[in-house]
């Protein structure tokens, strides 16, 4: 067991991809500069050469189609976007081509590739550098969408998709996770498909299904409510939002009867909606209380810190939701985490990116 940051896990995964899969190559805006996508591609051009690691002009649509063409011919493209907000410029290729290639051609072609895109957040990034667009992609059959919430997920998922998976994968990485440290166990030899959801923590009172950064907010909330009210929270990291582990979710909700969905994106037509769909179309009688959705506020992200703090759900919101379900009222009167406590994790983080 050792400690490693999310950023280090990403860098290690990129290096290992180039090393293990000789058809892989990495490209995107800024992958070869001195900042190297927040450090995750640093040194790779030097080590593997400019044919396998290169910077591109600013043309997301063409580069995505380029990836498809290269993949068709046996290469394994890893295309990196420093913000997922730029993906709308590549949407035609992703939706109309990449997602459909295998099916539309009767399985004659496969277009394995990995698209990494960072979810920007906080510190006045504003409307177009703050979105979390997983729903737009997970809605499209043929796209596998993951949201690794920790270093282990990064390592296992990227290793699996680069070396063993034959479909296109979109991975959304959360900027605030980059500096988090995680424990990672030594890798097992067994190849386990990580394109599913994970049980993070067992608990019998409330189920929280969460994505990305919200997995951590859920963990902090679980610690808090356990300490203060001896409430046991079960946490499921949805991870592969396009292929959630439906059984795991249903088993948990059946047991707790109470469900919170904590997502980094918007609720309508988003992950919150999808998890509700899974439960409602399986057995809504599992739910003893209404589902609580924690998500970005239903608006564009404002830059002002004074508003931004209400825009994103945080660990205090998870605590409040847990109390609301357990005490069966939002007027539970229990103490919530202080502002300082809430902010403590992000202290180190300061923009600009």
């Amino acid at each position: 067991m050792r400690f490693i940051t999310y950023r280090e896990a990403l860098h290690q995964s990129m290096r290992s991809a180039l090393e293990k899969n000789c058809n892989s190559f990495i490209f995107g805006l800024g992958v070869t500069d001195h900042t190297g996508i927040f450090g995750t591609t640093l040194g790779l051009e030097g080590e593997f050469g400019g044919d396998r690691v290169f910077n591109t002009p600013i043309c997301e649509e063409a580069m995505t189609g380029f990836a498809l063409g290269a993949s068709l011919r046996g290469l394994y493209p890893i295309h990196i976007h420093i913000r997922n907000d730029f993906l709308p410029l590549a949407m035609n290729q992703l939706i109309n081509c990449v997602a459909k290639y295998k099916y539309m051609y009767g399985g004659l072609f496969e277009v394995p590739m990995l698209v990494r895109a960072v979810i920007g957040r906080s510190w006045g990034q504003g409307g177009t550098h703050s979105q979390s667009l997983q729903a737009l992609f997970a809605h499209i059959p043929g796209l596998t969408v993951v949201m690794p919430s920790n270093a282990k997920s990064v390592i296992s998922t990227y290793d699996y998709v680069v070396n063993h998976y034959r479909s296109p994968v979109l991975s959304l990485e959360h900027r605030l996770l980059y500096e988090y440290s995680f424990t990672v166990e030594p890798k097992s030899e067994e190849i386990i498909n990580p394109l599913t959801s994970f049980l993070v923590k067992e608990g019998s009172d409330v189920t929280v299904t969460a994505t990305s950064l919200m997995v951590h907010e859920a963990k902090r909330a679980a610690d808090f409510v356990k300490k203060h009210e001896a409430i046991e929270v079960e946490i499921i990291d949805l991870h592969c939002v396009s292929h959630p582990d439906v059984e795991l979710i249903l088993r948990s909700v059946k047991n707790t009867g109470k469900l919170i969905v904590a997502d980094t994106g918007w609720a309508p037509f988003g992950v919150c909606a999808e998890v509700s769909r899974i439960v409602a179309s399986a057995d809504p009688s599992m739910l003893s209380r209404p589902v609580i959705n924690l998500s970005m506020a239903p608006t564009t992200c404002p830059t002002a810190k004074a508003l931004e703090k209400y825009f994103y759900p945080d660990f205090g919101d998870v605590v409040h939701a847990i109390y609301t379900l357990v005490f069966e009222t939002s007027d539970h009167g229990k103490e919530l985490p202080s502002e300082e406590h809430k902010a403590s994790q992000y202290k180190e983080f300061k923009g600009p990116f």
Partner: protein
């Protein structure tokens, strides 16, 4: 060009023409339930160009790709089966007329979204270049597709990364019903030269020999220099944009233009060769159609395979 080569090109073009005519004939029966964008009128340059491609050279096409599919060596029976939506179609009935493909002869896809395939050809060219396999990548697309922003992105990229790719622009002067003049303010020649990409033009796409010669020259230079080029070919779409009707009565183009092209269309003018080749082609086509007709539908289980 020697006689034999000319006859081969003629035969291939005629075969495409007759396939299209067969589709026109079958269409009212509603057995082909799929939008078709006929290549009829645009066969000549395709056979002349593709003549110089190796089987493993890679091509990508627009939805108007019956000609390229057949010229590159795509299986005729599988094509009809595909149009019929049968399990024996080249893509098990999932692609239809707009997405013909045939990896075994280098056709790696087509797209019904205008302009979409340009970057695919670049990615393939990049792979070829890295593998140093001497293959070229060719994308065949309409004039309208050059209006999409991705075309600019691709010209820049092709030139920057020195990719062995050929952009073939089939200029039929039309995008659905819109004339080129109302859509484009740019000269394709000036545009591509701004990127340092060599530009070639054939003004008469019906001239088999001219296209054949020029294609040879262009392709061998791409193979040698491993850099991109663009090849514009003026041609004529005989039929309506999609479907099997003529539409010269619709007010947006003239029957005279059509007649001018027809007057020098080798497949019309050279009656002798047509008569000579017709029987054999007819036989091949009937067999292919019969194959399609007799083939089974894809079973329901296939609805959900190959998604991921």
């Amino acid at each position: 060009m020697d006689r034999k080569t000319y006859e081969k090109l003629f035969y291939d073009a005629l075969r495409i023409r007759m396939v299209e005519e067969k589709i026109i004939q079958l269409y009212p029966s509603d057995k082909i339930q799929s939008p078709v964008h006929l290549s009829i009128g645009q066969e000549h340059h395709v056979v002349a160009l593709i003549y110089h491609l190796k089987k493993d050279d890679v091509i990508f096409c627009s939805y108007r790709s019956h000609a390229a599919y057949l010229a590159k060596g795509g299986d005729l029976r599988k094509m009809f089966a595909e149009l019929y939506g049968k399990k024996t179609g080249m893509a098990k009935g999932r692609a239809g007329s707009m997405h013909l493909c045939s990896p075994e002869v280098g056709l790696f896809g087509a797209s019904a979204i205008v302009g979409t395939v340009f970057p695919h050809a670049l990615g393939a060219a990049y792979a070829n270049k890295l593998k140093n396999n001497g293959l070229v990548s060719v994308v065949i697309s309409g004039d309208g597709a050059t209006e999409e922003g991705v075309f600019h992105e691709c010209l820049n990229l092709a030139s920057l990364k020195k990719l062995p790719v050929l952009f073939v622009i089939e200029n039929n002067g039309l995008a659905i019903h819109a004339l080129l003049e109302e859509r484009q303010s740019y000269s394709l020649e000036a545009l591509t030269s701004a990127y340092g990409i060599p530009y070639y033009l054939v003004d008469d796409g019906f001239n088999l020999e001219l296209v054949w010669n020029r294609s040879e020259q262009i392709l061998s230079s791409i193979r040698q220099l491993l850099t991109p080029a663009i090849f514009e070919i003026k041609t004529c779409r005989y039929y309506e944009h999609v479907g099997v009707g003529l539409d010269y009565d619709k007010g947006y183009r003239t029957i005279e233009e059509y007649e001018t092209w027809r007057a020098r269309d080798p497949l019309i003018v050279n009656k002798e060769l047509v008569d000579e080749f017709q029987p054999q082609i007819e036989k091949e086509i009937s067999e292919a159609v019969e194959f399609a007709e007799l083939s089974p539908d894809p079973p329901k289980e296939e609805l959900l395979t190959d998604v991921f």
